[in-house]
């Protein structure tokens, strides 16, 4: 039995969703005193998802390497899906619990598993209501996994909502600052986006006669969706998913939300959840409504470029560490949208790669900010300085994340940005040039941040600050290693992503 058969036969994708979900239920049932047991259970559940996702990634890579999944542009949309699962029991009407994964799913699943694994360790020392915190975190992750592996639009939306809602309580209860305001703002803006998405999904069913992605792609090929329909509903999806991807001017929830959220929540949110936006566009809007991208790509590209530059400028002006990282996320996610709008295989590859690379990087960033805040009790950049002397470990990790953010070769950020700009310069040179300004500004604020927080004279108040501890090193180590690994040897992951991107770009065709 090959590994592919093994993973398919033993429902690897279903376990990805079930393990965190069941762990979340188990945690809810445990007595409040068993804090350590809860952390261990959460870590085990996260570890299991890491193992499953690693197996999936390895197996998908072998499929790509052996040419079973074509990466040379010949593969049809249907041929890239593996590990399919469609139990009869969960089928009702036009809806069925249909799981399947392509290259993009695999990449995102790996990202999610790594982030939650790091996230559990990063919040190891959380004392207040540990049980509910970990349970909600795992519930959220179950939703995220569901979105990435689900090809039925009903369950896609169901998981999408499950991924959004726990955020309200996570920020509202465990957050800092004006947490109630931020939590409500974030929840409402994201749900407003999903109101557009649900109408879009229902309309796809009304015209295409199915909720199943494969059937809908077939319907789209057969011309079930006319030009006007495609244009309007692509716009609806762009707005709906775009809110989550932080497109200007719907990004305002993101800085507030991230700044108020507790560490692991920020990590998951910026690292994974914001990727659902770009992923949704890629998974649903592009293959089903190609005419929509043909019509709106200029709008998307210009907004994306503005996101990149505006986010970077805004980050430069912040004094709060978390706000800096949050605005840098807005800037970097513009890169994802720019890649999608550019519409070439290279650029869309870059966009998906950016989702992956930025996810890991920003998870590391937020973990670091959380650690610094926990130890220095401040997030004000001006109140820090010279932390490298007392916490060299944190400084090293922060430098790695920062350099990836700037896009230094050898880090994941470089690969992603290079691919996006390589693609974008071909189809939209002016927009790309403007967007490239963002990279310059990014290097300004990242380097300034490094200087004023970690280097320079040590702030005497912080002389007693401790470096990261063992459990915290797990979080930092995992992410640092992955950033450098995908930066140095991006080939497998690009190939995996490319196998999924090519058929979609093929459906859209060259942009007019």
């Amino acid at each position: 039995m090959t590994l592919t058969q093994f993973l398919t036969q033993y429902y690897a994708l279903a376990w990805l969703v079930l393990v965190p979900f069941v762990a979340s239920l188990v945690l809810m049932a445990l007595p409040r005193r068993w804090a350590l047991a809860m952390r261990l259970i959460a870590a085990t559940a996260a570890g299991i998802t890491v193992i499953i996702s690693a197996l999936l990634a390895w197996d998908y890579w072998t499929l790509v390497r052996d040419g079973i999944v074509a990466t040379n542009g010949t593969g049809a949309f249907e041929s890239i899906w593996h590990y399919q699962l469609q139990p009869q029991m969960l089928r009702f009407g036009a809806i069925s619990f249909h799981l399947a994964a392509d290259g993009a799913s695999v990449a995102m699943v790996v990202l999610t598993a790594l982030t939650i694994f790091a996230g559990v360790f990063a919040s190891w020392n959380l004392q207040e209501r540990t049980k509910e915190y970990l349970a909600l975190l795992l519930l959220l992750v179950a939703g995220v996994f569901g979105v990435f592996v689900c090809v039925d639009l009903f369950f896609f939306f169901l998981f999408y909502e499950i991924a959004v809602l726990p955020m309200y309580l996570l920020i509202g209860i465990w957050g800092t600052g004006q947490k109630e305001y931020s939590a409500m703002k974030l929840t409402l803006m994201l749900l407003m986006g999903s109101a557009f998405i649900i109408v879009g999904f229902l309309a796809l069913y009304a015209k295409g006669g199915s909720f199943d992605l494969f059937a809908l792609v077939q319907a789209s090929r057969n011309g079930a969706f006319d030009g006007e329909f495609q244009r309007w509903f692509f716009l609806a999806f762009y707005l709906g998913f775009g809110v989550l991807a932080g497109i200007f001017p719907f990004h305002t929830w993101s800085p507030d939300g991230h700044a108020s959220a507790p560490t692991a929540t920020s990590m998951l949110h910026a690292g994974v959840l914001m990727k659902l936006g770009g992923f949704g566009l890629l998974r649903v809007a592009l293959p089903l409504l190609p005419e929509g991208l043909q019509y709106w790509h200029w709008l998307i590209a210009i907004v994306a470029a503005w996101n990149i530059v505006y986010g970077a400028f805004a980050a430069m002006g912040q004094r709060d560490l978390k706000y800096v990282i949050a605005y840098s996320s807005v800037s970097h996610l513009g890169m994802v949208m720019l890649g999608i709008a550019a519409g070439t295989v290279t650029a869309v590859n870059g966009a998906v790669f950016q989702m992956f690379a930025h996810g890991i990087m920003t998870a590391l960033f937020f973990a670091l900010v959380g650690l610094v805040y926990a130890k220095a009790h401040t997030r004000d950049i001006d109140a820090m300085g010279g932390l490298a002397k007392v916490a060299p470990g944190l400084a090293v990790a922060f430098t790695i994340a920062g350099l990836s953010s700037v896009g230094l070769p050898g880090t994941g950020g470089f690969v992603a940005e290079f691919l996006v700009f390589m693609g974008a310069f071909v189809t939209k040179p002016l927009v790309a040039v403007f967007a490239a300004l963002g990279i310059v500004i990014t290097s300004v604020y990242v380097l300034r941040l490094l200087r004023s927080v970690f280097f320079g004279p040590l702030n005497t108040k912080l002389a007693a600050m401790a470096d990261a501890r063992t459990t915290e090193w797990v979080a930092l180590g995992v992410t640092c290693v992955v950033i450098l690994a995908v930066g140095v040897w991006p080939y497998p992951i690009i190939e995996i992503i490319s196998s999924a991107v090519q058929p979609v770009v093929g459906l859209v065709g060259p942009l007019r």
């Binding site: 029991m89 309580l169 509202g172 749900l191 109408v199």
Partner: protein, 571 residues
């Protein structure tokens, strides 16, 4: 026993059982010592309702409408009357048996001696005959016969049976929860009136004739008027009762006036007769329909006929409100679906517009006004108005589907039925918890929920789940329900209306989350733990469990709803 009376007995078993139960409760109350609390009596009454629910479910399972021999004999006699009456007029019965607009009543099961075609011919002939002689009363058809009348005036189909199950379930839950609340000395009368109101609702959903429908409506309404003003010493309860009585009577007046206009025009108030007759646009048909809609709109508390709801909900006893906001509303929707789809298919293009406007208004008014409510009961009242708006989308879709794609008709009715079930269950729970908090705190303002997490963790968890379900958050029942409601609108091309609904349900999540915030995020001043009590605890557990179950495993419920919808539409 005479076959005819045994037929009536089996057809109305749930109603008869409920009446007997209600009378028994009142009789036992007389013999009980005056000082006894009568809590046990309430619990016994509740479980009586549970038995009635089983009887109704039995009726649902018996599926096809029962048409006994006596009906067959009657129908045969009718055929002969027709032939005698029509022949001298020089007209022969030339009915098209495949005409889908023929009343379901005439569709006898295959094993009956009278074929479907013959039965259809009878009705078609009646329609033609009435066209010639408009005063022709049903008596000419032999309808005076009690057995036939029962068959003719009452649907006794799965659609009715499903709602009987729902009402019995609602009465069961509400009676269980009412044990927790003070209803002063009159616990037995409270249970009795609630049971009689349930009977009224059952008659409503069962009826095929506007006059019978009115009987049920009034039976339920009169009981509910009394229940609304239950707390004699409380001015708010008095206000609530008077307001409900005055406005409710007005709505009833509109309803009966509309029915009489329709009778004036068509010589009948029977739905299948109206359905056949309204083919021609008559001057008073629209006014009559409009007046009926006003009556129903009041019943379901849809804007712009919603103004009574917040005041009544705020002042009336909690258990009564839990019943009023759910079972009564569900009954309104059930008859709305039946009356509009059976009685007025020819006027669809008119009423669809009205329903659409009502849907949009209800969603906007309900959700936006709810934002400013501090009192959780008023908030639930406005959220109920908004929910009525979502449900009206499905009613509108029923009309639109009837016009163009009959294949979508079933899906729309299914969506409405499913949503009514889960809305009823969740809303009873939400009101019950609000009532418990009201009783344990000074009031039922938002801030009284603060710290509920520590005072009663399970209540806090339950309230959160129920509110999120009402808001349509997965994996709870409300999500599945809303999905299908919105779907029914979208397949009919109502993108804007559904987008409005989806966007406004985000607004609704805001105010539901405000309550959740009080429960989980903010610390409360009052930290005294709340004891729920075993009986109410059972009820609430059942409610939360069902809400979760429908959300994660909707298929069986969807199948049941589909079958129910089919029975309404097979005519």
């Amino acid at each position: 026993m005479n076959v005819e009376y045994s037929y009536i007995l089996t057809s109305f078993l749930p109603e008869i059982a409920l009446v007997v139960l209600g009378l028994l409760v009142l009789a036992i109350d007389l013999v009980l010592p005056a000082r006894s609390t009568r809590r046990t009596l309430t619990i016994v009454a509740a479980f009586g309702c549970l038995v009635v629910m089983v009887l109704s479910a039995q009726q649902w399972l018996a599926s096809t409408p029962i048409a006994p021999d006596l009906v067959q004999r009657e129908t045969r006699a009718m055929v002969q009357i027709w032939q005698q009456q029509i022949e001298p007029l020089g007209q022969s019965v030339q009915a098209d048996p495949t005409d889908p607009s023929l009343p379901r009543v005439m569709q006898l099961p295959a094993e009956m001696a009278l074929t479907n075609a013959e039965a259809r011919a009878v009705v078609r002939a009646y329609q033609q005959q009435r066209h010639l002689t408009p005063q022709l009363p049903p008596r000419e058809m032999g309808l005076a016969h009690p057995g036939f009348a029962a068959w003719w005036l009452f649907a006794n189909d799965q659609f009715a049976a499903a709602f009987k199950v729902l009402f019995a379930l609602a009465a069961f839950l509400v009676l269980l929860l009412s044990v927790r609340f003070p209803v002063e000395r009159y616990r037995a009368e409270f249970a009795g009136l609630l049971i009689f109101a349930t009977v009224g609702l059952m008659v409503m959903v069962n009826s095929m004739d506007l006059v019978v429908l009115f009987l049920g409506l009034e039976l339920a309404a009169v009981c509910l008027y009394a229940l609304a003003s239950w707390h004699k010493g409380d001015a708010r309860s008095q206000e609530s009762g008077v307001k409900y009585l005055l406005l409710g009577s007005l709505a009833s007046a509109f309803f009966i006036y509309g029915a009489s206009l329709l009778f004036m025009q068509y010589g009948s108030t029977h739905l299948t007769m109206l359905g056949g007759a309204a083919m021609r646009l008559a001057p008073f048909a629209l006014i009559g329909l409009l007046m009926l809609l006003i009556g129903f709109g009041f019943k379901v508390a849809a804007a712009p006929l919603h103004l009574w709801a917040p005041d009544v909900y705020q002042g009336a006893p909690t258990s009564m409100v839990a019943f009023l906001s759910t079972a009564s509303k569900a009954a309104g929707f059930a008859v709305l679906l039946r009356v509009l789809s059976l009685g007025f298919p020819a006027l669809t293009d008119r009423w669809v517009l009205l329903i659409g406007v009502m849907a949009a208004l209800s969603m906007v008014v309900g959700n936006l006004v709810a934002l400013h409510q501090n009192n959780v009961k008023r908030l639930l009242a406005y959220s109920g108005i908004a929910q009525a708006g979502y449900l009206l989308i499905a009613v509108m879709a029923v009309g639109l589907a009837g016009l163009h794609h009959s294949s979508h008709l079933e899906a729309a009715v299914t969506a409405a039925v499913l949503y009514l079930f889960l809305y009823t269950i969740a809303n009873i729970g939400a009101f019950a918890i609000a009532g418990i908090v009201q009783q344990e705190s000074a009031g039922v303002e938002m801030r009284d929920f603060a710290g509920l997490r520590t005072r009663a963790p399970l209540l806090a968890f339950g309230m959160t789940l129920l509110l999120l379900s009402l808001g349509g958050i997965p994996p709870l029942a409300g999500f599945v329900g809303k999905w299908f409601l919105f779907l029914s609108g979208v397949v009919e091309g109502q993108y804007i209306l559904v987008l409005l609904g989806a966007a406004l349900s985000v607004v609704s999540i805001y105010y539901y989350l405000l309550v959740v915030k009080q429960i989980y995020v903010l610390p409360g001043e009052n930290t005294a733990p709340i004891r729920v009590g075993a009986v109410a605890g059972i009820g609430l557990t059942l409610i939360v469990f069902l809400t979760f179950l429908i959300g994660v495993f909707p298929r069986p419920f969807l199948d049941l709803a589909t079958q129910t919808a089919q029975s309404l539409l097979h005519f």
